[in-house]
């Protein structure tokens, strides 16, 4: 396989609701991109993208699979992301390495919950979006409905670039108002049928106006001549796209492979290339995507794959990665030789000699770093880490068989190292291992993996709540500990008083104990800030020389350890004899 220069690379992620057809679109793009010569289908469980057992049995994507295709001399890397919010980690990691997103919409239903969720994410992560309205060949295809839903959801940002001719099982093709051509069901480029010429002209006028908003120059030209050339329209769309102000709308029928070629052509012609894009570094610097700069690659995903073991996916953020390169992890100083590097289309990996800035590839069995790390030529700064939403689902986890605890811990840690949206933490206070992720399905998938990949059984249950305890009135107590059983005898007697602490108020010294007014004489005090925000004030009020003051810490420790589950909030403890 040849190496592509940075300007000949496009990186996109396919996002959208579940069942909109992202995986089928990927399959068609692989076919059009000459990576496969026969298209599989989700139903036959033979797509390149859904290649794990779990994905095939459930007929849904769980992993964001990196794929590519070649089109008009360009390499389009596209990542097929899962549509469920529980697995949004895949799409969000992909945002780190792509320049734009293709929002796939189901042409029978229009804007779905998943559409909104993922367009919100694209917005948050600042990624330009192109809409592909899919399933235009479906018997329930509803172009007019979808078109209105798009206008309602995305307002004036959305701009129609295509419309279908005879949507439904008899789909004839799409009229494209950028090229002003008709693309039939065999993907042939023809003249627009006369019956659709008026509609095309009308949309073309709207498109020109939108494209003109891309830059002042285009706007001037447009006002003067009321006309933009096709190339100027592309330029204007690209400018609007990059600023996330324009969302071009396309149509496809992925399963029948209609319109996919034209969508890829648009990606190549208009979507931004990685050349010149900037990544911030952890030290506040910048890494520019420049093939002549020192090499820096960022690992955005790690997975364990059949027959291969651990595979790390990366984007070359700058410079050129040659096979055999010696790179270091700037954050740990660990070095590593990347002896073999690959281009990826799902489980198909092709060895390559070099990968240019902006391109995506993979490497096996890395030691110097897992997901979310930079490997670079010596002296480079680490690229800023990926950001994910906070976990939304927490539960406690344990091995069904206590003897497997260590193996289960190991399995969970491995999964967490691969999936940055999973965390596994042992809580000393709760004495439970807490597993958190993006949702219940996500956590159940972890359980499935522990069971199927690591052959261990785990149980998930409600985590304990870290309760605290406070006191509301004054109380006293005394305790005498006496033990004589050979060796040195044990004797200790403690008298103490506890009273509620009131923020900003000095500790009282006068108390009525058993009806008697008693004045405390503070010998020393010790104030401990408790890790949850509370405070423990401890006053030593020992009278005379009745005990060795050296034992105070022991008394205090005893007091503190008395409340393992329910901890005192702001108590004041006065010890006296």
């Amino acid at each position: 396989m040849k190496s592509y220069t940075t300007d000949k690379i496009r990186n996109v992620v396919l996002i959208g609701a579940s069942h909109s057809g992202k995986t089928m679109l990927s399959e068609a793009m692989l076919f059009e991109g000459k990576v496969i010569d026969r298209r599989g289908s989700v139903e036959e469980k033979n797509t390149v993208s859904d290649n794990t057992e779990f994905e095939q049995t459930n007929q849904k994507s769980i992993n964001a699979t990196p794929l590519y295709g070649e089109f008009n001399g360009c390499k389009i890397n596209f990542i097929d992301a899962p549509g469920s919010d529980d697995f949004s980690g895949g799409a969000l990691s992909a945002f780190k390495v792509v320049e734009s997103a293709v929002m796939v919409m189901n042409g029978t239903t229009g804007v779905e919950v998943g559409t909104t969720i993922f367009s919100r994410y694209a917005d948050q992560y600042g990624k330009p979006m192109v809409i592909a309205v899919n399933q235009m060949d479906h018997d329930k295809a509803n172009w007019e409905g979808v078109r209105h839903a798009i206008a309602e959801e995305f307002g004036k940002k959305a701009i129609i670039c295509q419309f279908p001719v005879n949507p439904g099982p008899g789909l004839e093709g799409f009229v494209d108002v950028i090229t002003m051509k008709f693309y039939n069901a065999k993907n042939e480029e023809l003249d627009i049928p006369a019956a659709y010429a008026d509609e095309a002209e009308e949309l073309r006028a709207e498109l020109m106006e939108k494209a003109a908003e891309g830059s002042d120059e285009l706007m001037e030209k447009f006002f003067e001549t009321m006309e933009l050339t096709t190339d100027e329209i592309r330029e204007g769309l690209r400018a609007g796209l990059v600023k996330c102000e324009t969302i071009p709308v396309f149509c496809v029928a992925a399963k029948a492979n209609i319109g996919v070629r034209r969508l890829m052509e648009f990606i190549v012609n208009v979507c931004p290339s990685p050349l010149g894009t900037v990544q911030k570094t952890v030290d506040g610097g910048e890494v520019r995507c420049n093939p002549a700069a020192p090499t820096s690659i960022f690992i955005y995903k790690t997975s364990v794959e059949q027959h291969l073991g651990e595979v790390s996916y990366f984007k070359v953020m700058s410079g050129t990665l040659n096979e055999g390169a010696d790179l270091v992890n700037p954050e740990t100083g660990n070095g590593e030789r990347l002896s073999a590097i690959y281009a990826v289309a799902g489980s198909k990996k092709e060895k390559v000699a070099s990968i240019s800035a902006g391109d995506i590839g993979c490497v096996m069995k890395l030691k110097a770093g897992k997901t979310d790390v930079t490997l670079a030529a010596p002296g480079q700064e680490a690229i800023e880490h990926m950001v994910f939403p906070d976990a939304k689902y927490r539960c406690a986890v344990k091995a069904v068989d206590k003897n497997d605890e260590a193996k289960v811990g190991d399995a969970l840690n491995k999964i967490a190292a691969q999936d940055p949206t999973i965390t596994v933490e042992y809580s000393k206070e709760l004495r439970q291992t807490i597993l958190s992720g993006m949702g219940e399905q996500h956590i159940n998938y972890v359980k499935w993996r522990v069971n199927n990949e690591f052959k261990q059984n785990i149980e998930l249950y409600a985590p304990k709540v870290p309760y605290r305890e406070t006191i509301t009135k004054i109380a006293t107590a005394q305790y005498r500990h006496k033990k004589q059983s050979g060796g040195a005898g044990q004797f200790g007697e403690v008298h103490l008083l506890v009273c509620p602490y009131i923020e900003g108020q000095e500790a009282p010294k006068n108390f009525k104990i058993d009806g008697k007014d008693t004045v405390f004489n503070f010998k020393s005090q010790d104030i401990t800030d408790l890790e949850w925000g509370g405070k423990l004030e401890f006053y030593n009020c020992v009278v005379g020389g009745s005990i060795d003051l050296g034992f105070m810490p022991q008394v205090q420790d005893g007091g503190r350890s008395a409340h393992r589950f329910l901890r005192p909030r702001h108590p004041r403890v006065c010890v006296r004899r």
Partner: protein, 132 residues
């Protein structure tokens, strides 16, 4: 660990027991962590979200709008938040999302209602017995 001096252990035990005893008589009250929960939901689901929050002892502090969605700012005891993402999702057809935040400071802990306290103490006693 170095062997504990017999006198030291005596004071640890005495301190511990005296403290336990005093605490028991000092009107102890259980506090629970209260999380700040921001729920982002399409307007049509505001009602169901609110009544669900009521069943979780949640308090709605205020409400505003963001990009056409309603944002409910609520305070909800952590004890009532187990599986909340799943519940919110089924309540709203998957269209709502939420964020939870908690700061480790004592103002974020609030006394539990009396019935919850009774239940917790019973549970804790049972658990202690089991562990001993």
């Amino acid at each position: 660990m170095h062997p504990v001096d017999s006198k030291e252990i005596a004071f640890i035990i005495a301190g511990r027991n005296a403290f336990k005893e005093a605490f028991k008589n000092a009107g102890p009250k259980i506090l629970e962590p209260i999380y700040n929960v921001d729920i982002i939901t399409p307007n049509e689901y505001v009602g169901p979200c609110m009544s669900d929050l009521n069943t979780r002892r949640g308090m709605i502090m205020n409400q505003d709008m963001d990009k056409g969605m309603t944002v409910l700012h609520a305070r909800v005891p952590l004890a009532e938040l187990y599986r909340y993402s799943t519940i919110l999702s089924s309540l709203t057809g998957g269209s709502a999302t939420f964020q939870m935040t908690f700061q480790m400071k004592f103002a974020e802990y609030v006394q539990v209602p009396a019935d919850v306290q009774t239940k917790l103490i019973a549970e804790y006693a049972a658990q202690e017995q089991e562990e001993d």
